[in-house]
Assembly symmetry: C2
Homo-oligomer: 295 residues x 2
């Protein structure tokens, strides 16, 4: 799907043509800090889906490794493990370093996976940036992976990540402090305004040890329970609307990033910078002028 | 400076008027994962600056706490400690949850601090998102705080963070594994393409124990060494250009975020979403139309 990155007109036409074939996959987001064992958990989850004859596509949105620009090693290992299984499709996308923002191709890749007919589309992120939170908002069910012993875990976890969680998996729960993390999550949830709303989904909090395949069945059941809850409480159209809205936002932002990328380093861009340096323009005046230039 | 958030015309006029008074502060970025002890390090660093009669403004870009929407507790404690010292100014800004992106006021706040005449402007972030990397790119010298025992630290640290580091501080270096982290950073640096360039700055790698004020003097000296290196190798105008370019980009992105925020939920927005749900438009066609609407 690398062609999606190039922004070629064929790619766009392809995506338009694919759209009627989308809307059948169930989207699951899995988000966890580096070191949370998220990749192992995803791997175990994929195996569980396969045992149930569900096909799975997984897109891993990961920071690039410092100098290679490629995906981190774990994903390569994982991809090799499932390499011979047609029912599994894994793609790693690096978050872009320099120009900022999510790879433009990510939302499109998710759509392609859906159109390809996979039962489950997993979106895996380290959940540390706004871009990543934006991408997992495409998911129907979001699992947030916590882990004992990462300092003041919950206080430090990005607010957006806590807000999207439908299910908390406290992984590495054979380590000291797992019960404390469970307790803290439950305390936090009880302070949530919607805790008193009988119709609201109360996020489940589960303990897992992904390396030993422990707690995976309950995790799968929790995802199913959330899916049932969604079906009982929201129309298909409402759920689709939420995803489509997020997708459209991501496509618009991607277009903006692409345009600002093309403007950088042009003579127009440079002349405004020099004007600011000469103090004949303020940075805000330059930004206004360049903003108009983009469109 | 809350008025900066409102996007009022007065605020903009104020910023234009302030611009000629900027350009005197030295900007230092301090970036570290949650749990790295970064806040304690910043606090110790501020005290060191004060001992040298340097005034310090610090802007802490932090995730909001899950439900309060406010700054995390540590910053409050820190602000109280320096509350009676006119030579210290600390402001916490929460990263915005819902609409995404950095608070629009952050780059403007940095400019105001500069215009206020502080000798040092510290920009403190958890360095986990692109937005935060974008903001510390405003700094002249960037310190990245690492810590032993956070799993596969270096592999997992966002590439952008590694790339901006002028100085690595391995904090909590009284813990096991500190030397390993130092070694890993040095190995990584030696693989960097610019390692063979004699004129390039080779990032310093230092050990600190901020809670015991250990290693802070060498950290301060490393910042000064980098400042000297910049003065020897880059003209003032080049350094200013770099910061101004980043500032202009942030202002443009902020304007885009504000405009897309105003479009969300309007009738135009909704009618395109319904068209996509009715499959009379694809998400990409809707995005195109809405993109044009923004400008």
């Amino acid at each position: 799907m690398r062609w999606l990155d190039d922004g070629r007109p064929e790619a766009r036409a392809e995506l338009d043509a694919l759209y009627p074939h989308t809307g059948n996959a169930y989207f699951i987001g899995i988000t966890g800090h580096p070191g949370s064992g998220k990749s192992t958990l995803v791997d175990a989850f994929i195996r569980l889906c396969r045992e149930r004859d569900l096909t799975v596509a997984c897109i891993a949105v990961d920071p690039s490794s410092p100098f290679s620009g490629g995906a981190i090693l774990g994903d390569r290992v994982r991809m090799n493990r499932h390499a011979l299984d047609d029912g599994v499709f894994i793609r790693s996308v690096a978050t872009r370093g320099n120009l900022g923002g999510l790879s433009r191709s990510t939302p499109a890749s998710v759509q392609v996976m859906d159109a390809m007919g996979f039962d489950i589309v997993l979106i895996e992120t380290v959940g540390v940036g706004q871009d990543e939170i934006d991408i997992v908002r495409l998911a129907d069910t979001n699992v947030v992976v916590m882990v004992p012993g990462l300092g003041d875990d919950i206080q430090a976890t990005k607010a957006g990540v806590m807000e999207i969680a439908d299910i908390f998996a406290v992984n590495k729960s054979d380590l000291d402090g797992a019960d404390r993390v469970v307790r803290e999550i439950k305390t936090m949830l009880s302070m949530n305004e919607s805790a008193d709303d009988e119709d609201a989904w109360i996020p489940s909090v589960l303990k897992t040890v992904a390396t030993h395949q422990e707690g995976l069945e309950p995790l799968f059941e929790a995802v199913e329970a959330h899916r049932d809850w969604l079906q009982a409480h929201r129309s298909d159209r409402d759920r689709d609307r939420q995803r489509i809205e997020q997708l459209v936002r991501l496509v618009i932002s991607g277009e903006f990033d692409a345009r600002i990328g093309r403007l950088l380093g042009t003579d127009t861009w440079k002349s405004h910078l020099e004007a600011v340096l000469d103090r004949t323009e303020t940075p805000y005046e330059a930004a206004d002028a360049l903003f108009d230039e983009i469109f």
